[in-house]
Structures are given as structure tokens and as C-alpha cells.
Symmetry: D2
């Protein structure tokens, strides 16, 4: 079994608020400090870039699952770029490959799709400062897989609890 | 230019209510009567099956974009099965290939992802009897691309209006 | 069960020889005359365009599975464009969705991938005027799924024989 | 820019010869010793498993791009499993995400598709002990991107040369 724990951080690329970007940077750092691998959408904007930078600043390992087929829009803080060339079809890979997904901030349309696809793949999602309508929708639809956190430390605490619950044979 | 108009009908596979299934059957029939091609997720359950059956009953042409790699779960009312073998990554194909998307009923998680991905691809979505939280979320996020209809006839009327607005060179 | 038979025609986009393009046009016409649906990669170049034009000239129905996410490079002879936005990952859809694949001419790299993926999906492939090295490779690797034809009429004759062999419940 | 170098090793899953499996193990070890990251198809069979085991035995980092949507068939030597759930459509991700592809042994149909897709993505491919027909085909079609090696050390030497040629801004 793989001994690496992969945590996905999703959120808006364009149009993320500065407080969401700050939270994503903090989340990335906390993920790295736990020894977990950060997985994101890999582009050089918004939540994915901030989380990757946070993880790198704390010495972590970062994976980026990119929509494009080259490194043009790649975050400089991604260690391992996976070039899918599949546009938003890669969103399903992001959700499925993460043992826990942290959705950071009010999100964009891509994030909404990733949260829905994470639940379809039976992955737990921690909503950090979500949009209220998204929260209402996903609390109704996500079954026991929805968690809400008010700050990065709380999100990490929930993630640790969720990982501890896993069967010993992993994901 | 292609002279076929492709209209996507999305909605819950499992767990669709009987009134949503009836509405999907009606929508499929109305799409066929307009001479449009019906595109759906292609499986033999829920909204996609009902819409395909409605379209076939009215003499229409039906396309199914299947998640699986064989015809096991194929709706008998799909004329042209496209076997993606890509699971929910095919949702992005459904949304993008439809000139207008009609989301029928309160939907499931897959439908939520398809609506979000449709907006990302700049496709208009008509919500027919949506869940209230989904409606609130998408009215906020979908820009000018969200429309709400109370019955199948109204949905078709909106679709006609949207298609008329297109540039003469098509989608 | 669907009563439509879907036949895929694959071949070089750029750089197809004029004799291969002529053969593809003829193949498209013969497919339409059999009442089969033509599936291709959908772009406005090479074998896929010629086969689609041939099928339309004979009154057939044409499906195009496009790599891109818009209609920019769409063949004018494609009735139903499926916009995958997935680049060459759509090659697997082309092969899998075809009950029989006809690879027209010496092919390009994309065609090589589609032939290999067709065999993986247990689809028979008819090589029409293949490159000799490709023929040698695929005759060795394709098991009982490889057929070679010297002209379009012969390819259609083989396709008919293959379709007749199918179980009555279809693909 | 990412400072990690990603080298893909491709080859048969089922039916790999024992000498090809040994070569893959050796290649994995040499990749790790160079400090490169090994990318493979991630399953617990054949060339991908052997290369991953070789890399882990030498202290390297291993990525597996899996066709499935769970960890059932995951190689125990893969550190970071990317669960695509896309079947062979993931082959395009394998080729594109690798800066250099090493195709180990006579390969299977999946490998043939990956080599062809690598050339389409402008990635160099080193054929290590290839099938003679595959070699003939790809030497003709791969332009300046085809290299042939007789043993693992030679393959690594070619890979180093190819990486040195890259522009300083990377892939």
C-alpha cells in the first residue's frame, strides 16, 4: 500500500477573494506539515496556486492535474504536473484521486463540479468558508460526506479525523 | 454547417421522482417534434431513459453518451450510443455537445456537475422544476445563462428563443 | 436494442494521400447505402472529412467525435458533432463506439493509436490499403480482429460479414 | 519551473516476458538514481509494476496513472496513485505528462497507443528491446523523436542527452 496521503484542495481559479487565497496558502502549509501530498488543479492562479505555494513554503510535495496539454499555465509551486489535455474532464480525476477534498472559499463553477463529483466517488469534502447556497445544496445532497470548517486549522483537524477512520488498507 | 440542433436533457439516473420522469418523457417528445436531436447520458434509468423514450415515441433521433464501455446499461430508446468508458468524465461531453441543456427535476450529483460544466462551456441551461437550493446557487453563478421553466412546454419555448438568438453560423 | 449500426472510419487528418481520400469518400458512400451510421473524428480534413462527405452525398447520417471544444474545425459534412474537448483522449471513444473500424490508408499517429485501442476494446478493424509495417505489426497483435481489404467494396463486404456474426442482441 | 523530471516507463501489463520485466526493474532503479520521478500506468502487473518496484528499491518517487477508479489493481510500489477512472483514455495522460517515454520490451496494444500518442504530443520515446515491426513502424512515423536502446543503461544515457537538450524553461 502507498504510504502517501493525498489531500485535494479545490477552489476558484479566477476571481478568488484575497481572504480565500490566504486561507488556501495556510491550508497548503498545514497539509505539508502533516506530511501529506497536496493535489490541486495545478494552474498558476487562485486557490490552486496559493495552496501549492503554501505547501512548498512548508517543504511539502505538490501535484497539479492540469486541464491543458502544456506547462504554459502551470503554477511555479507544482512539483509534479500531470498534463491531461482534457479541459474540465480532469475535474473528475482531481476529486477521485484525493482521499479528502478541501473546497476553499465560495468557489467557482469548476469547484461546484468537483464537489459534486467527489461525492459521486464517495470522497469526503470539507467546505471551508463556503458560499451559503452551495453549503445548503451540498449538505442536502452529500450524505454523510459533507463537513464544514470555519478556518484552516479546523479543516485539517477534520481531515485527520476522516483519515483515521479509513480501513487500514487505505483509500 | 450541421443542420441538426442538439438539445441535452440531464437529470437523476437513480432516484428520479415519478413526476420528473413524466416531465422528461414529455420533454423528449417535444424535442423530437421540433426536429431536434436529443442527447442524454444514455443509461436505462431515470431522466435520461424517460427523455429518450419520449423522443423515440415521437419519432425523434436520440444520442446517448454513456459512462461505461459496453451496452449493458444502455437505454433501449437510444439510437446512437457513444461508449466513452470514462465514467463521470463524460459529463463534460454531455454539457458541451448540447446547444441548450434542459436539467429536468431536482437532479442528482451528476446533474449538478453537468449544469456547472455547461456554464463553464458557455451553454445555456433551462432548469425545469429545480431543487430550490440548486436554483439559488445557479442563478447566482450562471450569469445570463440560467433559465427556469415550470413545465415542459415552457422549457421548449425558452429553448426555441435561445436557438433563435444564435449567430446564423451555429453553435 | 438500438437498430442503428455504427461504423467508424479512421485515417490521417493532415497528410492523407489523394487516393486514400478518394477511398474514404467511397467508403463513406457505401456505409450510407447500407443504412449504417458513419462515425469519425469529425474534423474538416483528411480521411474523416472525406468519409463524412461521401456518406452525406449518399444520404447517410454522420457523427463526429471532435478533439476540440468548439465547432471551429468541424467538417461541414458532420450532422452530429460531439465536442469532447479532450484532444486525443477522444480516440478511445472513436474506437469503442464503432462496431467495426475501417482504417483507411497508411494513417497517421492518431490512427495507429485508434487501431490499437480498437483491439483493446475487442473491436474488429479492417485495414484498407495499410502501410506495410503497420499491417505486419497489427496482424501480429490484433488476434482474430484484423482484416485487410484492397478496395472500399471489399472493406464493406468484410464489415457485413462481421456484423452478421454478432449475437442478435448487438454490440 | 518545476524542478522534478518526470520519466514515463510504458510496456505490457499482462504477458510481459521475464527479461522485459527484469529490464523494467533495472530502468526504474536507474531513473531513481538520477533523481527523476517515475511515471507509469500504475497497475500491479508487468512492466509498470516492475519499473515502480525498481524505482522504490532505489529510493525513488513513483506516480501511477491508473485506468480504474479505485486502488484494487494498484501496484504496491506506487507512491502517488492518480485515479482517472477513464480506462485507456488515460494513456494520453501517461505519454503527455512524461518528458521522455521509455517503452520497455515488445509491448502490448496499450503501449503501441502510448508510443503513438507520445509522438503526437512531441515527446521523445526510447524503445528498449522493441518488437521489430513496431520499431520499423515508429522509426518511419516518429520523426526525430524515436530512439532505440539495447539495454537499460543505454536508455538512461539517451534520456539524459534528451533532457540536456531541453530549453532551460523546461518541458
Amino acid at each position: 500500500m502507498s504510504q502517501y496521503v493525498i489531500i485535494g484542495v479545490m477552489g476558484a481559479g479566477e476571481g478568488a477573494s484575497s481572504s480565500d487565497v490566504e486561507a488556501a496558502f495556510a491550508i497548503g502549509g498545514l497539509i505539508a506539515k502533516e506530511g501529506w501530498v497536496l493535489l490541486s488543479g495545478g494552474r498558476n492562479v487562485g486557490i490552486m496556486d496559493a495552496a501549492s505555494r503554501g505547501a512548498k513554503a512548508a517543504g511539502g510535495l505538490t501535484i497539479g492535474i492540469l486541464p491543458g496539454d502544456d506547462r504554459c499555465a502551470l503554477s511555479a509551486a507544482v512539483d509534479i504536473p500531470i498534463l491531461t489535455g482534457m479541459g474540465n474532464a480532469r475535474n473528475v480525476i482531481n476529486s477521485r484521486s484525493s482521499e479528502v477534498v478541501i473546497a476553499c472559499g465560495s468557489g467557482g463553477l469548476g469547484t461546484i463540479s468537483e464537489i459534486a463529483l467527489a461525492f459521486k466517488a464517495q470522497r469526503p469534502v470539507i467546505l471551508l468558508n463556503p458560499d451559503e447556497d452551495a453549503r445548503a445544496l451540498f449538505e442536502k445532497m452529500g450524505g454523510g460526506l459533507v463537513f464544514v470548517a470555519g478556518d484552516p486549522a479546523k479543516a485539517i483537524e477534520i481531515a485527520k479525523r476522516l483519515l483515521a477512520r479509513r480501513a487500514p488498507s487505505g483509500g
